[in-house]
Symmetry: C2
Subunit: 349 residues, 2 copies
């Protein structure tokens, strides 16, 4: 009755490999005595691979990755301003391509202020919410272009594309999540300016709300939402929002809950047609790469999301609890590996 | 040698009339003994006017307003969800229309943590920066639309339009401002995703930077910028950014500097072809309208920006100083009018 999970592992660039090593360490520890085995296939992708081969994500890479049950990703992206990367766009060509091609329409980003973690707020209150960020539409579709590039008459456009199909499925996911949590859903958009996209989001939320009478719904403009994230973050339970607003809100949310060193995320295809991908919200931080200064906690919490997604809820809870205990007892500076060791030890205890 | 300034006054909705009354009180006080006279013409515009007449901003309104030297605006917008406003979009039809028609390409939003003001951050540090938000382009242009509206096959698009002409002029303004301040300019955009618009912004900033060798330039993605606004806001001097990112960052900036009750703004046409418009960043807050609970400080600081714009730098400085003194000595709850009275008294002292 043993289960095998085929896991694609993309360590990536900068601190990616370091934090992924710890995440895998914890994954191995939590599954050591169980009947599930993770069969890991490493994929060398990112700025490093691009510099070596000129490839960002080939069709072969993509179909190989798509054949797995899940993906664990560290971080991708080279040194900012590296002239050799001038014509590369690792973010669009790799990270966003994976999210789009694998139809990761739910970008799940929990924000929780763990006891012991300290953020920048004087009176943070009880912070525990989840941002459900749409992952396959909006201003991220790449439907832009420019004319007269580089001249005084250049015009550069970016088109945000939003579909009822795409919005409804993520909204429905968010409502179902709210129903399992504190029954509160906040739509964040900018309906007074982006009247077409915002209007559609609003109408769809109002319609789906009929099916979830137990969930309280409210709406905030994105600008107002940033205010509440710093003045009253405990007002939030589930936030549902578009790709770009979700990007912005989750970095801010990470900061108010103690830094993006703790912020995990899942790029989820709830239908299971494609493997879902789990990654820390932080970037590759090339400036501290190789120094063992990175905090692997976000990557480890991403493993907890991955386990939960695979239905391994016990294992997931054990990872989360180990992280919570570790955060609560932090003092002094530890290396990336020391944090990973400490958490791995706790999951086995 | 007396100078007459023709000022269009748009009190608007909700708390707008209350805060504008105090702003005008302070304007009158600071110019009482000087040789400049403000000739004020009130314009009844906003949700109230729309409900009475069905008009949002007529061509006659617009040309009458355009004939003035400057505009003072309170806040516009009715009660959220008011069914009678379902088909109105006061924000687009009035506020944004004024900004676009009067070519307010610089939306100037200073953020300062005044001694005595308290924000949500535990260790705010020295906060004193200005956001130069582009005001006439980007995702705000209203070039969107939808097909199959209301069906399961709806597609809703929003197009962000950006021109070299429009970006260069606001970037140039921001550099000139940085040169008069602490010589630091931060471009905020999302170049890794919005490659066309972001790429153009980046190239133009790099080009204009050549003319301002004394100004240090850096770049942040909008998501990272929100992190720094709560973890290290004193790193900022001048931020230049697009219309939507500027909207988001300035609400957040208002929150970290003690609330948007203190955040002033100017919608500026630096060329002087059209009157510039000064307004608090906050909205009409219909829930507290008429209760004298609104803080008129943001409106009063908008008067300081207005005076400065008109070259009345002494008067402007006196208003700012009076506000600073008032904030530093705040204790207990005061009405809107009491705050206005206190500041008006100080400017005359
Ligand atoms: C790297 C970038 C393309 C990405 C995004 O904008 O989605 C990142 O900021 C994130 O939030 O995962
Ligand atoms: C009311 C709204 C259209 C406006 C904006 O988005 O510009 C407001 O939020 C602001 O910042 O002045």
């Amino acid at each position: 009755m043993s289960r095998v999970v085929k896991l694609a592992v993309i360590p990536g660039d900068g601190i990616g490999p370091e934090v992924v090593a710890e995440a895998v360490k914890v994954l191995d520890a939590v599954t050591a005595a169980s009947d599930v085995t993770f069969e890991k296939t490493p994929f060398s992708l990112g700025a490093g691979r691009y510099l070596e081969t000129g490839d960002t994500l080939t069709d072969d890479d993509l179909s190989a990755i798509a054949g797995h049950d899940a993906i664990l990703l560290g971080a991708v992206g080279g040194v900012p301003g590296d002239p050799r990367l001038k014509d590369a766009n690792i973010e669009r060509g790799l990270l966003l391509k994976l999210r789009f091609e694998l139809d990761h329409y739910v970008n799940l980003r929990p924000s929780k202020l763990y006891p012991g973690a300290t953020g920048p707020l004087a009176e943070p209150g009880d912070i525990d919410f989840v941002v459900v960020r749409e992952g396959t539409e909006g201003p991220y579709v790449g439907n832009g272009g420019s004319i007269r590039r580089g001249t005084a008459h250049e015009v550069a456009n970016e088109t945000s594309v939003n579909t009822a199909y795409g919005v409804e499925r993520v909204v429905r996911y968010a409502f179902a999540l709210a129903e399992r949590r504190r029954h509160k859903l906040t739509l964040v958009h900018k309906t007074n300016v982006l009247v077409h996209a915002g209007g559609m989001w609003k109408r769809i939320v109002d319609a789906v709300a009929q099916e979830f009478p137990g969930v309280d719904v409210d709406y905030l403009h994105v600008d107002a939402a940033t205010i509440f994230l710093v003045t009253n973050p405990s007002r939030f339970d589930v936030i549902v929002t578009d790709n770009l607003f979700g990007d912005i809100l989750t970095d801010l949310a990470g900061a108010v809950t103690g830094g993006i060193g703790l912020a995990a995320s899942g790029n989820i295809n709830p239908d299971g047609a494609f493997p879902s991908m789990f990654e820390p919200v932080h970037g590759s931080a090339p400036d501290i790469a190789g120094t063992q200064k990175a905090d692997p906690t976000a990557a480890i919490l991403s493993v907890a999301l991955l386990l939960d997604h695979l239905g391994l809820t016990d294992e997931s809870a054990r990872v989360t609890r180990a992280v919570e205990d570790d955060i609560a007892s932090r003092d002094g500076v530890r290396t990336t590996a020391q944090i990973g060791d400490a958490i791995a030890e706790r999951v086995q205890a």
